[in-house]
């Protein structure tokens, strides 16, 4: 069975990291990762790490998580053959891993359910989160409502404007959305504010980071909660095609849907993995959010990773039409995969993403999130160059309903 091989091979990958000075304690991936945070929250991270290590080895915890993922989220999500897109591109055969079909319309809920169960296990009384596109905020507010726990979500004012629908959804779900007016008023500033809140509230509050970023243990823990994407996809593609795929393609902001899809295939060298970043409006500083393709190694939000910074370590402004990709950092494990050459990272412009958004809607009857549209746009370039017997899995990380207003505006419609 595929799952057994995954397990053994994942271990090999970790041994590979070990030879490259992998330190489980501080969560380093080679020279990336770590725990660069104020002393005030160090004990909370230690507590979280311990609680998580206990929980992940506890069959009862895993059974509960599986229960909610199945009964509440609606997993497994389907691996759908995008037949008309495949035919139009006349190259490789394309499958969508349909994370948009999850409850709340994106992959983010896989992680928030896991972390809320963990928070309850630790006896925390309140949940905080940061959000960019609002998908993580909605997923957090949803899980918090379902478990009846107080929830405050930090969101940049600029993102609140772009994602007004998600702001309303969070409020409906009983969460308080706290506008962030500092800095660029986007995801990075919301992250700063959430970390600050946590420094003062750490005793009874759990901070649910929405991506594989931040200090250890978040990059590892969030990845683990998203592994379900790749594990299911692996099983499903073997069932359908009786073999592993040739390409995995997913968008990368912080990198949680992509690492969730990639990780169970890391040891299968024949499977190529491509992360697609936001190329925005162009290559100039402030016009894009292509952290891995144009950034340099630095420290942001608690870990060493590729970052968009100036030569003194100050964070540079970023842009993407997609609020979920509009972030100057990226998960440390992606930086590691890039450095060891296991994954490739490319970028797609706003315009290409909006084009893919429309193509996907027309050809497949699926309106993809702008984030996932980046992965589709890259596939639209790649697939025609490949043989018809090649297989591509795209992580369709979320639904584009939330983006309809932004895209309408871009296309000159008034709604």
């Amino acid at each position: 069975m595929g799952i057994t091989t995954t397990k053994t091979k994942t271990f090999d990958y970790e041994r590979l990291s070990e030879t490259d000075s992998f330190s489980a304690k501080m969560g380093h991936f080679g020279r990336f990762g770590g725990k660069f945070v104020p002393e005030t929250i160090m004990p909370a991270l230690d507590q979280l790490e311990q609680a998580y290590n206990e929980a992940k080895n506890d069959p009862a915890f895993n059974a509960e998580l599986e229960y909610y993922l199945r009964e509440y989220v609606g997993r497994p999500s389907t691996l759908y053959y995008a037949e008309r897109l495949t035919k139009k591109l006349a190259g490789a055969k394309i499958y969508f891993k349909r994370e948009d079909l999850n409850h709340t319309g994106a992959h983010k809920i896989n992680n928030t359910i896991g972390q809320i169960l963990l928070a309850l296990r630790m006896g925390k009384k309140r949940i905080i989160a940061e959000t960019g596109a609002g998908q993580h905020g909605v997923a957090t507010a949803t899980a918090a409502a379902m478990f009846g726990i107080q929830c405050d979500v930090y969101m940049g004012e600029e993102d609140m404007r772009r994602q007004a629908l998600n702001v309303f959804r969070m409020k409906l779900l009983g969460a308080t959305v706290i506008p962030v007016v500092s800095g660029s008023k986007t995801l990075k500033d919301a992250t700063n504010e959430a970390l600050r809140d946590w420094m003062g509230s750490v005793k009874d509050t759990h901070y649910i980071i929405g991506s594989v970023v931040g200090p250890h243990p978040y990059p590892t823990m969030v990845r683990d909660f998203q592994l379900v994407i790749g594990r299911e996809a692996r099983k499903q593609i073997v069932e359908k095609e009786n073999r592993l795929p040739d390409y995995l393609i997913a968008c990368v902001g912080g990198g949680s849907n992509s690492i969730g899809l990639f990780h169970p295939f890391i040891a299968d060298k024949e499977v190529k993995m491509i992360g697609v970043e936001a190329g925005g409006l162009g290559n100039e500083i402030g016009q894009h959010a292509s952290t891995l393709t144009s950034g340099k190694i630095g420290v942001l939000h608690g870990s060493v990773s590729y970052v968009l910074q100036d030569d003194e370590g100050q964070t540079l402004p970023v842009h993407s039409i997609s609020a979920g990709l509009d972030y100057p950092g990226v998960g440390p494990e992606h930086s590691y995969l890039k450095d060891i050459g296991r994954a490739d990272y490319v970028s797609i412009t706003d315009e290409e993403a909006v084009n893919a958004f429309q193509e996907c809607a027309r050809l497949e009857g699926i309106i993809p999130a702008l984030e996932a549209s980046h992965a589709i746009a890259y596939t639209m370039k790649l697939a025609p160059t490949l043989d018809k017997n090649k297989l591509i899995i795209i992580c369709l990380s979320g639904s584009g309903d939330k983006d309809s207003f932004e895209v309408a505006k871009k296309l000159g419609y008034t709604i």
């Binding site: 004990p43 600050r196 060493v304 910074q309 370590g313 964070t315």
Partner: protein
């Protein structure tokens, strides 16, 4: 001898706590920062904590973040700050501790940065987002160069971590008095005395208390239990108040404010 060690030795003989004002380098401009340091020394400040502006500070509250933002908007660079300190060293020997994010240190390179800091005349560094477990390299480099790395203890710090941190810290130990971010508060938490006594059993190194100390009365209270009192946000707010006034007026008024805090601390 390092200027920080020397200062605490002098104060120990006088049986007085140190007063340590915090300001942001380059807010509102680098000339004002230089004048303020000299003015603070004249009013009896013992050590200066100088914040190096960072775009995404997580350990600091809104007042200091806004101050960093103002300085960065004007294009302040680390090299300008170090040049200012070099120039200042011809006028004063007051110990100066730089507070800097690890994001900047990492980018410039730990070794290169510590050497630049020492050459400019900085006596110590606090790197709030660098926990003791992650900073072997910088401790080694700093020890070789006689730059002190000042570490933090928070009320959330466990006994086990207290042991580790008290063994590592150099120059003094920075005790974060309030759980959470920097900023002025109305009351000081009760656990300060308790935690400071606990720390004193572990180390002889001077303990300075910061984060949330904002009034003369609070400074007096803290000065009775610790070897140092650090005030940041309250001073930055004073600077903000006189930001658009003539340079001399700003220096005079902020200097007076610090003078009162010094009297409170030493009282």
């Amino acid at each position: 001898m390092n200027r920080i060690d020397k200062k605490f030795e002098e104060l120990k003989i006088k049986k007085k706590p140190a007063f340590i004002p915090f300001i942001t380098a380059g807010d509102p401009d680098i000339e004002t920062t230089e004048s303020l340091i000299l003015a603070f020394e004249k009013r009896g400040a013992d050590i200066i904590e100088l914040g190096i502006p960072f775009s995404d500070p997580i350990a600091d509250g809104p007042v200091i973040q806004a101050s960093y933002h103002r300085a960065l908007e004007k294009g302040i660079k680390v090299s300008q700050i170090l040049d200012m300190i070099s120039a200042l060293r011809r006028k004063t020997q007051i110990p100066i501790v730089g507070m800097i994010s690890y994001s900047i240190v990492y980018k410039l390179g730990s070794k290169a940065f510590v050497e630049m800091a020492l050459k400019a005349g900085l006596d110590g560094l606090t790197i709030p987002d660098l926990p003791v477990e992650e900073n072997e390299e910088i401790f080694e480099i700093a020890s070789k160069n006689d730059v002190k790395i000042v570490c933090f203890v928070a009320p959330t710090t466990t006994s086990q971590r207290m042991n580790l941190i008290t063994q590592k810290t150099q120059g003094f130990l920075y005790y974060i008095s309030v759980v959470g971010i920097t900023g002025a508060r109305d009351t000081l938490p009760d656990d300060i005395v308790q935690n400071i006594n606990k720390l004193k059993q572990l180390t002889d190194i001077p303990i300075a208390v910061g984060f949330g100390v904002s009034t003369v009365e609070q400074a007096r209270m803290v000065g009775k239990v610790a070897e140092g009192v650090i005030v940041g946000s309250a001073i930055i707010k004073e600077i903000e108040k006189y930001e658009h006034e003539p340079h001399e007026k700003l220096i005079e008024n902020v200097g007076n404010f610090v003078g009162e805090l010094v009297l409170g601390t030493k009282g």
